[in-house]
């Protein structure tokens, strides 16, 4: 669960004490491009985790020839936008729509950022920790 060493230095990636790399969000597209050139072509997933004070986006991209994995995170505040990877990796398209749908994170430059799993008129983002679980939600059908 890490990144190749040379990319960590080249892109100003901070590695925390558990060995998890945090990528500055403005370097994300460049990093993804560099990864793709290094053979990391298999897009596994992108998701988000809500830590209440901040959100973390989690990326996993794999090199199928060497079975190396690029696992990294981007830390954002509520309301911040993140550059999209869907222009580089086709698979990021739906995964980013899912994150937008369930967490309300906006991806800059995404070609088609709509809700994907929930109806278009749904209010709120259910996977956030502050989303109430004990009340009915109005557009419920």
């Amino acid at each position: 669960m890490s990144l190749p060493q040379d990319l960590i230095q080249a892109f100003g990636v901070e590695v925390n004490d558990q060995g998890i790399p945090y990528v500055p969000k403005d370097r994300l597209p460049d990093l993804a491009r560099a990864l793709k050139e290094k053979g990391f072509r298999f897009f596994v997933f992108v998701t988000a985790v809500d830590y209440r004070e901040y959100l973390e986006l989690v990326y996993l991209i794999r090199n199928l020839d060497t079975l190396e994995e690029a696992f990294f995170k981007v830390k954002i505040q509520d309301g911040e936008t993140v550059p999209t990877l869907s222009t580089l990796y086709e698979g990021a398209n739906w995964h980013e729509r899912e994150v937008y749908d369930l967490f309300g994170v906006t991806f800059e430059g995404h070609p088609d950022l709509r809700r994907i799993l929930l109806p278009e008129d749904w209010e709120g983002h259910p996977l956030r920790k502050d989303y109430p679980m004990d009340t009915p939600h109005p557009p419920y059908r």
């Binding site: 669960m1 072509r41 985790v49 989690v58 696992f71």
Partner: protein, 380 residues
């Protein structure tokens, strides 16, 4: 009197397909952008089966989450139970006894066979009556699948959702005389599949409707994140069971089935061959089955009994549809803080947009079928 000229431009036409449609394998809606009979684009709409499993999992304990996961991919429940149990075991460092590992391998391969049989049956049904009368093949293959469901019923008490895997092992040991019944069931499966192959392969209608249809290049397949038979049919030999072995797969002798054409026919071929490989693995697991306990001691029953330390983990298994992953974040309690399911159907289904362009309307059904999406798994 002024003359009027009438001008016809063949504009694009939009046709709605689904969500209720007998051949779309569940609830998938695609808006087809047509020019004549040719498909210019397809706008997919999913989410009709969204149940919020990931949110639900945050409110249930690890022990309760394992059977809940089985409801996602209802054609391969054991794979889903397995990925959840494995993620927790890896995080909490729970060792699984060897006998349980073999039983897990056996169970997941039996479900792989059952799932591929359903797929072959429904896929041939999608082809319509041209292959010797509609549902003939479908019923043949379902009969063979029934022999596997019978095995599950005897082993676990349930045909469909066996609830077999638990954290630290499996819940049920094999009943007496089970290996003979497994061998009989596998023989039924092999015979049926061979019979179906004879009827289907070489049939001009079948060949014409599948060869060169929906070609997926290996580059695009990887970029989308397609896995399982869809990826292997494009010539990429990636299989989680070989790449990141779990349970007793490193002790099993089997091959990664691949095909190079990347079309619907190649995906059919990969799945058919995987049925035989899976049967081979089941036999090995039966033969090599070691004696010993089937679960970690003491058995886990109370919902709060399992706690995972603070941390995060990503675990993947090879389901019948491809790489099924669970990304689990724990805050040290008995519930997940966040559980992300990386479902193979969700990623595989994204390919549909790229595959149908330039084909005819009737091909949509075949191409969609060839991706083998299970909508419980797509929408979660």
């Amino acid at each position: 009197m002024a003359t009027r000229t009438l001008e016809f431009t063949f504009d694009e036409m939009r046709v709605n397909m689904g969500p209720q449609h007998p051949s779309t394998h569940g609830v998938f809606r695609g808006v087809l952008v047509l020019e004549g009979e040719e498909i210019k684009d397809l706008i997919p709409h999913i989410g009709y089966l969204h149940r919020g499993v990931e949110k639900l999992a945050e409110h249930l304990s690890y022990v309760q989450d394992v059977p809940i996961m089985a409801r996602n991919d209802y054609l391969g429940p054991v794979h889903n139970e397995l990925v959840m149990a494995h993620a927790v075991e890896k995080l909490a460092n729970i060792q699984v006894p060897e006998r349980a590992q073999y039983l897990r391998v056996m169970a997941s391969e039996l479900h792989r066979i059952a799932s591929h049989l359903v797929w072959t049956g429904t896929f041939l049904l999608d082809m319509g009556g041209a292959l010797g009368g509609g549902s003939t093949m479908f019923l043949y293959l379902f009969q063979a699948r029934e022999s596997i469901m019978d095995l599950y019923e005897e082993w676990t008490g349930a045909r469909f959702h066996p609830n077999l895997v638990q954290i630290g092992g499996v819940r049920f040991d094999l009943p007496a005389g089970f290996d003979r019944k497994v061998k009989e069931a596998l023989q039924t499966v092999r015979n049926t599949v061979n019979e179906v192959r004879e009827m289907v392969e070489g049939n001009p209608v079948f060949e014409q409707r599948t060869r060169g249809v929906g070609v997926l290049s290996p580059e695009l397949a990887q970029s989308i994140g397609c896995s399982g038979p869809v990826l292997r049919a494009s010539g990429v030999a990636y299989d989680v069971r070989k790449a990141f072995p779990y349970d007793a797969y490193d002790k099993m002798d089997f091959e990664i089935v691949t095909a190079t054409a990347g079309d619907v026919r190649a995906r059919y071929e990969v799945r058919i061959n995987e049925i035989f490989q899976a049967a081979h693995i089941v036999e090995q697991a039966l033969e090599g089955l070691p004696e010993g306990p089937i679960g970690a001691k003491p058995p886990v029953k109370a919902p709060v009994a399992v706690k995972a330390p603070k941390g995060e983990v990503y675990f993947r298994v090879e389901s019948a549809r491809g790489e099924l992953g669970a990304y689990l974040v724990s805050d040290g309690s008995h519930k997940p803080y966040r559980l992300k399911l990386r479902s193979p159907s969700f990623s595989n289904l994204q390919a549909i947009q790229h595959l149908v362009r330039g084909h005819k309307v009737a091909d949509v059904v075949v191409i969609l079928g060839s991706l083998d999406p299970v909508f419980g798994d797509v929408d979660r």
